[in-house]
């Protein structure tokens, strides 16, 4: 069937059908980057700590999570953990997987951000009697945002694209709903091409926005 006539007939219906699924994909990315941001920070601090066991533990986390495919981690958490009696629903399993996977990348991003802050800053904070946690919270973190936010934004976009993997465990996100449409219409090329365009329609502007903000350095003022 001709692609043009196919789109003329169905494009509107398909997009309407797929938009909620796209919204879910974006939600998965947002919740996952939040988990990654929360879990990644203590790992970054551990990696920068003076205690060798803590450093090794952080290193092991980062290397293992970054060294194996997210899809394997997803199967491990969704199918594997059932052996421990932990049966997660597909959606939380996906968010946990992408969040924990992203935390390994976030840890390195935080580390880069914290290292960019002059060492004299933490010395001064300690001299004022601030605890390490206070120093991190009030002195180091606020100054590191400028360095942290652009790569964290890129990571969020990468997670958004990876969220398509969640279709393999039947999370009703964009890719998954697309396969349902294909099952109805038997038009895989038209539907999957549309879906690819929809992913790009979100990921590309986001990437360009992040790049501009990064270049203009205006994140220093907003953060």
């Amino acid at each position: 069937m001709n692609l043009v006539t196919l789109y003329q007939e169905h494009l509107g219906d398909w997009v309407v059908y797929l938009l909620p699924a796209l919204a879910l994909s974006i939600e998965i990315a947002i919740f996952s980057i939040l988990v990654a941001g929360l879990v990644g920070l203590p790992i970054a601090v551990m990696k920068m700590s003076r205690s060798r066991p803590l450093r090794y533990a952080a290193n092991a986390y980062i290397e293992v999570l970054r060294g194996s495919p997210a899809l394997v981690q997803l199967y491990f958490i969704y199918f594997g953990l059932t052996a421990f009696g932990i049966t997660l629903d597909a959606l939380p399993a996906a968010v946990i997987t992408f969040g924990l996977n992203g935390a390994a990348y976030m840890a390195e991003i935080y580390r880069g951000g914290l290292r960019a802050v002059d060492a004299g800053q933490s010395h001064a904070a300690y001299a004022l009697g601030m605890t390490p946690v206070q120093t991190l919270r009030y002195v180091l973190l606020p100054q590191s945002w400028r360095v942290v936010l652009p790569p964290a934004g890129s990571l969020a976009v990468a997670i958004f694209k990876d969220s398509s993997l969640a279709t393999t465990i039947a999370v009703p996100e964009l890719m998954n709903q697309a396969t349902l449409l294909v099952g109805i219409w038997y038009t895989p090329f038209a539907v999957f091409l549309l879906v690819a365009v929809m992913y790009a329609a979100v990921a590309l502007p986001a990437t360009i926005y992040i790049r501009r903000r990064d270049r203009s350095r205006s994140w220093a003022e907003t953060a």
Partner: protein, 223 residues
């Protein structure tokens, strides 16, 4: 819950199957890598073209293809092209998809390489009478490739991990072999744990090589 009992009891069965899968993963990575390097070189050279539209088309391709999830690209190629009577074997579809995406990332790495070369070199080369092709092949590319090597090793690692996504189009690689074992033995925890380890065993040496080369090559690069 006994984790290691079933793992060690079935190891003689699991390991040969998974290692054969790992071999296929390496072949898939290597083939996609070759396509990526060739395509990336082509794109990077086309991008420096001064003809109208030509460099914009290359840039557009590079930006858009990187905004699309690997899974979506593979589905368009594997399931989509079937609609037009093009029945690609899953391995060919995977190499095509991963190679198309990899070309965009490699071109971007090379652009970083070109950007590191002072403009005077191109002018000097032209002024001693080298043709534009000679300037490219004898002056610019050799230096650009050197700068592009560390990020390209990093890309090789993500390519290795992305080959796992090819299991969704039934490419007979490591994760596909693992899924087969899981459906046969119903031991997802042990199988996916082992699978993750094998991916690690392949990606960690690459990561170490990348870090080594980064230090080595950083020393001699024009600043």
């Amino acid at each position: 819950m006994d984790f290691f009992g079933p793992l060690f009891a079935n190891l003689p069965v699991f390991l040969p199957v998974l290692l054969r899968g790992a071999g296929a993963t390496l072949v898939l990575t290597a083939l996609s890598g070759v396509v990526s390097v060739a395509g990336g070189l082509g794109l990077a050279v086309v991008r420096t073209s001064r003809l109208p539209f030509v460099s914009q088309i290359a840039t557009g391709y590079i930006e858009v293809i990187r905004a699309i999830p690997v899974l979506a690209s593979l589905f368009v190629i594997y399931f989509g092209l079937e609609e037009f009577g093009i029945n690609l074997p899953s391995l060919v579809a995977a190499v095509t998809g991963l190679g198309m995406i990899g070309s965009a990332y490699m071109a971007e790495n090379l652009r970083g390489g070109f950007a590191a070369i002072p403009k005077g070199q191109r002018e000097a080369a032209a002024s001693v009478g080298l043709s534009p092709t000679q300037v490219m092949s004898h002056v610019l590319l050799p230096q650009a490739i050197r700068v592009a090597i560390p990020p390209s090793i990093n890309y090789a690692i993500s390519l290795l991990k992305d080959t796992a996504i090819a299991s969704t189009v039934a490419a007979p690689e490591l994760l596909f072999a693992a899924k087969g074992l899981v459906s046969q033995f119903i031991l997802p925890l042990q199988v996916y744990f082992l699978t993750g380890l094998i991916y690690l065993a392949m990606s960690l040496p690459l990561a170490m090589l990348g870090r080594y080369l980064e230090r080595r090559l950083a020393a001699g690069v024009l600043q």
